[in-house]
Amino acid sequence: MIYSVSPWAIILFVIFVLFVLGISFYFGNKTKSAAGYFAAGGTIHWGVNGIAFAGDYLSAASFLGICGMIAFSGYDGFLYSIGYLAGWVVALFVVAEPMKRLGKYTFTDALDAKFNSKGIQLMAAISTLIVSICYLIPQMVGAGALVKPLLGMPHWVGVIMVGCIVTFIVATAGMTSTTYVQFIKGGLLIIFSTVLTIYLINNGLSIKPSDDYHEFKTISVVISGDSVASIESTDYTLADQQVVKDIHLVKLEKSGVNTWWKLSEKDGKIVLEEALSKTVTKDGTELYNGEPKEAKKFYQVGHIGKLINKDGQEVDKISGLGPFSYLSTLEDSTIVRFAEQKFTDGDDSVTVWYQNPTSGKEIMRPGLKFKVDKGATPWSKWNFISLMLALFFGTAALPHILIRYYTVPSQRDARKSTIVAIAAIGFFYILTLYMGSGAMTHGVLDLESSNMSAPLLAKYFGIGLFSIISAIAFATVLGTVSGLIVASSGAVAHDLMDRYLDLKLTDKGKVRAGKIAAVVVGGIAIMLGILFKGMNVSFLVGWAFAVAASANLPAILMLLFWKKTTAKGITYSILIGIVSALTIILLSPDMYVRYGLDPATAPIPLGNPGIISIPLSFLTLIVVSLMSQKDNATKKA
């Protein structure tokens, strides 16, 4: 779709970025030591750190991705919220304090505290780098999605801009500035999401989301055999028709403009229902509903088909709803979602989005995205379990979350800041269900980008709220990316160069190496952010969690709770965890779509590797540790 650029949005955005850069400069001048650069000198207050945790964690995936997924697939998107939050329980109850006790600057330090093993240093540093890069991709994709409506620039400009600003922030200041940026951003995100949700609930529900919402037409038809013989309209003429996967699509022409319609049954009559379409012609011209993008015919959509009040009557509008009755009313109603169908029409490749009225009961329970109900197969059910497992175990293994334990003065502070984080993040995740379902029913969805649902919902309530929310979302990306880049630069400078290669860097040299590493990782993230354009960012984060959970968590847990764990066991478990998780991802149906291949031919039908790679990594650790017990015995002697 085409967005009109708002000057207010640009002004607010620029103020935000300048503010963030200002903080970086301020703390950058103060940060000279390695402890200051990588761990903020261990001096951050637990309350600040807790909200900064929330800032780190509530990345583009949470705000843009989850809200977008709920807006397109209902409750299934909310499952990400639940999984992401549940993961914090592992972090708080099992990992937080021991990690604080064992670690110095990085996660590798903690793993290696007992062994001083070259193998662990190398593998843990590589794992930190890989997980950080996996997590960076969705942040960059989110940045690209945001600049389009905010500044009217193409995806790649957004990605490069975020990459450069963040790399600059990190290369100048390190963990202290990152922490304060995250604190401010995390706080603002939660405050303004609450404001948006209050607006939404107060606004109530209506079958016509706004006065300028597009009215979808229907045309009666005459059927002969399996095809449409004629239409009852003087404006349109029948141009073409085809059946794609049991969906009967009809092309109509009016004044030289072609539009696509879907054959449906409505109130016992066979009719054509207006759909939305994007056509890419042989010469690369893109047409939206048959016209160039600038004609603005690619409408924002999503509305309630049948609105049912608490007495069971069909009504046009309901106001005075509370937080619970808002959700239960949606459950009782029917919501018009839009289903996507791709096909070729002569030389043109066409994507049609047709109306798909879905009962609120189906939307508010699992099954629309994850095939656990209709059309479920054993693989699809395993895929779902695999994702939930990765989300649960992934949080406590994310390097940019783990390093935050080293920024506070004590174990007690580590624990308290985790609880502040859980409360802040948990509250925000409850809001995602409201924001996502709000976007679904308020006629704001851009069918080409699920990631924009929450900011576009804010736009519904005024350009001011949209500008603020977009600027915060952009800062969200900036903040999370900085955290990840600090984690990666720590892995390179501290773990790889200083410890693994024994380069004996001076304190200053280490900070310089960290900054150079930050620039390189930033560059890689920019490239990948451009390559993965268009994928839902929460989905991509699911992969980062799976890799983290497979590579790091078995090592952390077994080191803490199994006395027979050896250095070799840890090294091999990280290696197998990374390799198996990445292999399954690269051979998954979703990646096959990226390669331009038929997803049905993917050798592994799992979308998320956790269910295989996490147990495999545990098993490797146990077997290798048992085989190398001699090492521990020698060490003790």
């Binding site: 030591s33 390695a34 402890a35 761990a39 000198g41 261990g42 001096t43 409750y75 909310f78 499952l79 919220s81 639940i82 939050l85 549940a86 914090w88 329980v89 592992v90 708080l92 109850f93 099992v94 304090e97 604080k100 006790r101 670690g103 110095k104 600057y105 619970f324 009755s325 959700l327 239960s328 459950e331 009961k361 189906e362 508010m364 329970r365 699992p366 099954g367 656990v372 109900d373 059910k381 779902f384 379990i385 939930m388 497992l389 649960f392 080293y406 004590s410 007690r412 624990r415 308290k416 985790t418 609880i419 859980i422 409360a423 948990g426 409850i430 269900l433 200083d498 304190d507 709770f561």
Partner: protein, 104 residues
């Protein structure tokens, strides 16, 4: 400096018992989370049953998991802080300092 911690920590006598409490709470939460995943997988329609204020099981269980994590976190912190105060008190700050000096 290069291989030192970002901060120096004193010895914590309550570490073992805190870690046991943490593991018990983790096990309880993990079981409730597993229950959620299994109902979603094996009987997704059950999740559509209305159970509270017009909300279905999916929403109540989901919100419940989030709120439970917050409540359990606060309880855990309460226990741990009490334990730390009780078990680390007799040694006093002097003991913590001498421990830090030894390490250094």
């Amino acid at each position: 400096m290069l291989h030192g911690e970002a901060v120096k920590l004193g010895k914590d006598e309550s570490a073992e018992i805190k870690s046991r409490i943490g593991l018990i709470l983790f096990a309880v939460y993990a079981a409730i989370y597993a229950g959620f995943v299994f109902i979603n997988t094996l009987s997704p329609k059950t999740m559509g049953t209305r159970i509270f204020m017009g909300l279905n099981l999916a929403i109540v269980y989901g919100f419940g998991l989030i709120i439970l994590a917050i409540i359990m976190g606060i309880l855990y912190n309460h226990y741990c802080t009490n334990l730390e105060n009780k078990m680390n008190k007799p040694q006093g700050d002097a003991a913590l300092e001498s421990d830090t000096e030894e390490k250094a």
